[in-house]
Symmetry: C2
């Protein structure tokens, strides 16, 4: 697409509309923007694997040794130490460290479900987590946002709402995410309420809960109760929240508290070592995988101690630091190997797997940003990721949510939908009649097979410019960031919120008002 | 690297220099630019496969049917029809089309070698082609060049020489390539002489021969005879040249003539369907693979008819056209699937496999260019490519060789060297002592294991900026194309040609002068 005015809806969403097609039908389809949601990817391709049985055994044995001999820190959360003691682990209370008899954690993790459905308030947007399913969720955590006109600045609740709206409107984004950016204009102890409200109000896709304090996790549950009903929440999973390990080998009180609340309420958590190898893990892939495995086992087993059967995702966030400058680096080969390996380890536990997505270290939406992004997105999908966090919008090592990069990344996610389907072997796809009709030296543009297939033939990019140099020059030599800028602004202009029951909206606002009135603003 | 002044030599080329290291040794290593050549990649990872046995059988059976029933055009080259008739194929002389009894081509292809060495004039630069080896060669064919200062313009012989020099100086580029750009300032019927000379004079890496006429192929052989000696050339492979099929299902007289000359002289050819699916093949992956297989089988078998045992590479260049505008598109999911499938088909023949590399449709070195590039480079390496053409520098659908993109792409190729090695499982890599030393809540920056490994720990990018936003701002907010601009200019400044025997140089120049004097300039 070269004119920057096309809808973000892909060609294949028009499939089946209007039968045979023809120029008029195509014009009509183009005139009416159709935001059609693609379902979660069901991968037909097998997963790419980098570890053989021997390698897996080495890593698993080493992890067992680390868990037994070194142990895992459970800091500032005495209830965790109590639970571990009761379960038979060796608890060192002065160090707040737990050592695990060999096999104990594997036994506990057996109650973790292999897959679950995360329900959205619109049942059509509910997503399957686990197995051959891949779900995309936006960038998580940036204190800054940027766009190419206004530059980089602290994020506000307006930005937060905007990213929720863009994720809602994008057909390739399955999930509304969590802290799509930090609304820095709202008090730290209150902003979680506005964030949860935004996910409910401006989207009907599934979302993530607050993890910055146990009571904020509880607020998230309470707000979900108002939307889904308390009984539904207790019997189903309506939240998938991010519990980062304080790597190496530590879970802190904040994260343990949130994990505790969510697990008690049958809500899912991603137990996710946050690792910049060289700083939070050894410099090697094998050792990093060993440590990832230990941290995930400890956190996931803890969730099972709290409530057997509580859904947990095997998480990993892998990057390196530069050994020259100490800066985090992204899109390099070692984290891709960690990602493939971690996905295999997760499958050995029959647990859903979470990875990073559009990771990059670049400060602008340039070639570096894009090389690095595809050097994570492609391995994640090929490794068999079930829940890809940071799938779009990530910039500058996660410090920035970029409006333009969000749009460009979503286009890459669209491509993954087509790629992961693999190869169609139907008689139509074999195309023997086409080759017979055209023969040596002809061309396929007008043949019957092409006429029958052209509308759905290829993934249709929404952001690339493949026209001539001359045309591009006439149109102002726009690079992809400039084209993306026009797209996100149009998407926000055309945004229409999903319907939300008036009574529920009033109840949510009343809950927020009450909670906000109950304490003074805190800004750190 | 954030300062734009570092050498293009990777950290690992410093491995083993100066023993234990320390700050002084590191400074010394940095001060002296070390252009150290990385050998061809030997992949430890297994290949990613998208076709199961049933799918492969469907495609192979369909290809056999096409070859038997539809046939392949061998145009404007009567000698090919003579050879096919003699070999027992069904030749239609009025249509210049050959139909093949089932099994005939498979039988002929059995004499094609599974791998070969392409010799360089510097034996240390010779490359293995086939098996688990991956060799990178630069962009091929662009009539234009561009850099971010002077913009896009017709390429000249100076540009040609520059790209040969940049490929020579880059440690991750194994091959000097062929028509790295078209030297449009030299007559069409004479420029091949200057191109071959440049590859010999300004590089000592292996290179590709002229294919634009049989006599130009012969000139290439003759110049190689002057450099390697006639006997060596007859007994070894010193050229790998690109024979594009005129898809669909046609080989033309120009390409057949060049293939004939090279095969007669025991030189390697890539038989490469040049396919924009939707125009030169049906719109589907399965049909495109079928057609690729037919074209490669016909061309490769023809080479075996000319000289049994002549090295041939199973080539594929796969892209789509936009069904909306007819423009070629790159980095989309369908060609990635074609690439994986074609690599599998090549392995079934035990033939080396060639793919595209840094393909993109973008007009500038922007995010689109980089997303698209990694959406081809990564599948090519993971699919098990043996010879990656267009590995660096490709822009605007191959119309442009970009100086900046060449540098950025080479950095991605560097990453592939590390990735393809897979995961080290040595005791050092298991890093158990590091985890014991650091323990929960510590950090690995200063531990003994990190001290012992930091110099070679991670792939060290030569083009990315991972420093702080503030530092980047102070340094002028350079994007990756701007950083790459500084790098290629420095590389050309620092370029030192490899030694070339004076007598050989004189003989080459005399040959060129004689050949140029023998006919008038032609400019089309």
């Amino acid at each position: 697409m070269t004119d920057g005015t096309t809808t973000d809806a892909p060609a294949r969403t028009r499939r089946g509309r209007g039968g045979g097609g023809g120029a008029d039908a195509r014009r009509a389809a183009r005139a009416k923007p159709q935001v059609v949601q693609m379902p979660a990817i069901q991968r037909s391709l097998k997963e790419f694997e980098v570890l053989d049985e021997e390698a897996l055994s080495i890593i698993e044995n080493n992890a067992d040794k680390v868990l037994e001999e070194i142990g895992i820190g459970f800091k500032d959360y005495p209830r965790a130490l109590d639970l571990w003691e009761k379960a038979g682990a060796t608890v060192d209370r002065s160090e707040e460290r737990v050592r695990f008899p060999r096999g104990m954690l594997r036994e506990l993790i057996k109650t973790a479900p292999s897959h679950y459905t995360q329900h959205a308030r619109n049942p059509e947007r509910s997503v399957p987590i686990g197995g051959k399913s891949t779900v995309f969720a936006p960038v998580y955590g940036p204190p800054f946002v940027s766009d190419i006109e206004k530059g980089r600045r602290y994020a506000t609740i307006e930005d937060f709402n905007n990213f929720v709206k863009l994720a809602y409107a994008n057909p390739y984004m399955h999930h509304s995410g969590g802290t799509v950016c930090e609304p820095c204009d709202i008090a730290v102890n209150k902003r979680h309420l506005d964030m949860v409200y935004a996910h409910i109000k401006y989207s009907d896709k599934p979302f993530m809960g607050s993890v910055t304090a146990p009571e904020r996790a509880q607020d998230t549950i309470n707000m979900c109760n108002l939307v889904f009903g308390e009984e539904f929440v207790q019997q189903n999973t309506v939240l998938t929240s991010l519990i980062n390990c304080n790597s190496p080998m530590t879970l802190d009180g904040t994260m343990l508290g949130a994990l505790d609340v969510y697990a008690q309420n049958n809500q899912a958590c991603i137990v996710s070592p946050f690792i910049l190898a060289g700083a939070m893990s050894p410099t090697t892939v094998t050792a990093t995988l060993t440590q990832v495995l230990c941290e995930v086992m400890a956190g996931s087993a803890f969730a099972q101690l709290v409530r057997p059967g509580a859904p947990v995702i095997f998480g990993t966030f892998a990057a390196n630091i530069s050994m020259q400058t100490g800066a985090p680096t992204f899109g390099t080969p070692e984290p891709a190997l960690v990602l493939y390996g971690a996905a295999q380890l997760a499958r050995r536990f029959n647990m859903p797997f979470r990875s990073g997505g559009a990771l990059c270290g670049s400060k602008s939406v340039d070639a570096q940003a894009a090389y690095e992004t595809n050097a994570t997105i492609i391995p994640a999908v090929m490794g068999g990721v079930n829940f890809m966090l940071h799938s779009a919008g990530w910039l500058e090592g996660g410090l920035v949510a970029s409006y333009e990069k969000f749009i460009l990344d979503c286009d890459q996610l669209g491509m993954m939908h087509t790629f992961a389907k693999g190869i169609d072997l139907s008689e139509n796809a074999q195309g023997m009649d086409a080759m017979r009709e055209v023969g040596p030296g002809g061309h396929f543009l007008g043949c019957a097979h092409t006429q029958a297939n052209f509308q759905t033939a290829f993934y249709q990019s929404t952001t690339t410019d493949n026209g001539s140099f001359e045309q591009w020059e006439v149109e102002g030599k726009k690079d992809s960031a400039q084209r993306a800028n026009a797209i996100w602004k149009r998407m926000l202009e055309e945004y229409v919120p999903p319907p939300l029951d008036e009574e529920k909206d009033v109840a949510l606002q009343a809950y927020m008002a009450e909670r906000k009135a109950s304490e003074a603003d805190a800004f750190s």
